[in-house]
């Protein structure tokens, strides 16, 4: 398996050359040792445009091995352009197995979501990050933001959240909601909805973040305290939805709005397509089971 996977392709295994992988691997190790700190790295040009996940792709390429099973999601979906392209990229250049099932993957590369199904300790979640610096829109100079991180000077971020409240009556940040990692670094969790922020806290899985254009890698090790910034009188809250998913009927998942016609018709469905499909299959299984039980009226030995 290993030999054929490496030799059967005209590409270097997982596209990147070995020296680039070593450089990225060293940055990943420093990132894990300093949770939430953005490690600079010499990001390479990848055969896809910036903004399509070049940072995440480089991390995945540096960590993936022949035995890994890769899942790629884009806003929760396995079947959107970005996810299909990146999955195909690694199937071709690394010869690895791919999956859409969250539970079967050893590496999950994601754009802007964390899967609904809780991750396991043997999984790694790789985030694609557009702007890694949480202070960037408040302070455009890298020299200054670096100093602010060094001095743990994060007052400006709280002022920003306060201004949200003054203007809108609540904290209006709904995605890329800033977090404090292990009580030290304020970090941008990438543009995941704040609905997913609680999953960062004490995660069983290692979380790696890659920003290709901005040339930064950072990490949250498993079982690390990750606190979403807030105020005592305006505590952090996640989005809630009034309706269940229109496809699988599950409540408590993150929903996407789908416009169905030009007359204002809309539906809300799970953004995590794998989760939604499995819920549908489970519902059908329960229906089949109950209808079978009703028709036969036999004694059930196992549920």
């Amino acid at each position: 398996m290993t030999t054929s996977a490496v030799e059967a392709t005209p590409y270097n295994f997982a596209y990147l050359d070995e020296q680039t992988k070593r450089m990225i691997r060293r940055a990943i190790l420093k990132g894990i040792a300093i949770p939430g700190y953005q490690v600079p790295f010499a990001s390479r040009e990848m055969p896809m445009p910036y903004g399509w996940g070049t940072g995440g792709v480089q991390i995945t390429a540096a960590i993936i091995g022949p035995d890994d099973v890769l899942k790629v999601i884009d806003q929760g979906a396995d079947d959107t352009t970005n996810a299909v392209a990146i999955r195909g990229f690694f199937a071709r250049t690394a010869g690895v197995a791919t999956t859409t099932q969250t539970g079967e993957a050893s590496i999950i590369q994601t754009r802007h979501r964390i899967p609904e199904q809780p991750l396991q300790s043997d999984q790694v979640l790789v985030f694609q990050v557009p702007i890694p610096e949480p202070l960037r829109f408040l302070e455009p100079r890298e020299t200054e933001t670096r100093k602010m991180h060094a001095l743990e000077e994060y007052g400006i971020m709280h002022v920003k959240l306060y201004e949200d409240i003054a203007r809108h009556g609540h904290i209006a940040t709904t995605y890329a909601y800033p977090v404090l990692v292990d009580g030290r670094y304020v970090m941008d969790p990438s543009p995941i909805p704040k609905f997913d922020n609680p999953k960062l806290h004490q995660s069983d899985a290692l979380l790696l973040f890659g920003a290709g254009r901005e040339q930064r890698i950072y990490a949250i090790p498993p079982h690390t305290d990750v606190v979403s910034l807030d105020f005592e009188d305006y505590p952090f809250e996640v989005q809630t939805f009034d309706e269940p998913c229109a496809i699988c009927g599950t409540r408590g998942t993150y929903l996407d709005e789908i416009i169905t016609d030009d007359k204002g018709g809309r539906m809300f469905v799970c953004s995590d397509t794998d989760f939604c499909e499995r819920q549908v299959a489970r519902n059908q299984g329960v229906q089949n089971q109950s209808s079978a039980a009703a028709s036969e009226k036999t004694e059930m030995t196992d549920a």
């Binding site: 295994f13 091995g65 090790p221």
Partner: protein, 215 residues
């Protein structure tokens, strides 16, 4: 150059060329994932089976880590028993191309074989407040990870508590590790390499005060 000419050519050359990864791409990835797992779960022993065969006193595990992570961009520092061995120097030079650091405070990686006589952690590169990643990663070759001198750990990567018990270590190692953590986010990161197993002690890890005997 003079080293190479003076040393018995065939033996030294052969030794320097042999003992690397059998499959450099796959083996480096495997070793890196083991190291990443170790850093993600500080203190936990991670199996590292390897057939890398560096010249002694460099161990197979430390040699494999060196091959996976060192290259021309990483100045390395070796402690006296390693630095004094030309065969080892040639082996590292051939397989990794890593330059020798002018001092421990200039090193990206440090290879340490005599851990009980090693220099203080504060002598290595600590990184800066703005770039704490520019610090030394120490690869310490220990005889065991399961000595009787058990240290309890907590921090990122550790669910409740974890224990680690490498030996041999310098007498005041706990105090050094505490001081190293107190510098956070600056400080060094440590990777223990014992026969068949590795374990990490990154700067983020705290030593728990406990009742067991102090080192």
């Amino acid at each position: 150059m003079s080293d190479i000419l003076e040393s018995p050519r065939p033996a030294a050359g052969g030794a320097a060329l042999a003992g690397g990864f059998a499959q450099p791409v796959v083996d480096a990835q495997f070793v890196f994932r083991s190291v990443m797992e170790a850093f993600s779960r500080p203190g936990r022993s991670i199996a590292l089976p390897t057939r890398v065969a560096p010249p002694p006193p460099l161990t197979a595990e430390a040699g494999a880590i060196a091959l996976a992570l060192f290259d021309q961009d990483t100045p390395i520092w070796c402690d006296a028993p390693l630095a004094g061995d030309p065969a080892l120097r040639n082996w590292l030079a051939f397989h990794t191309g890593a330059p020798v650091a002018s001092g421990p405070d200039q090193a990206a990686f440090a290879l340490i074989s005599a851990c009980d006589r090693m220099p203080s952690l504060s002598g290595f590169a600590q990184g800066t407040a703005e770039y704490p990643d520019r610090s030394t990663t120490l690869i310490m070759m220990v005889d065991t990870l399961m000595s009787r001198d058990i240290v309890r750990l907590e921090g990122p990567g550790i669910e409740e508590t974890e224990t680690i018990a490498p030996a041999p270590l310098p007498v005041n190692f706990r105090d050094q590790v505490r001081a190293n953590h107190a510098l956070f986010p600056r400080g060094v990161d440590i990777l223990f390499a014992s026969p068949g197993k590795i374990a990490a002690l990154p700067r983020s890890t705290r030593i728990r005060a406990n009742a067991s005997r102090e080192g």
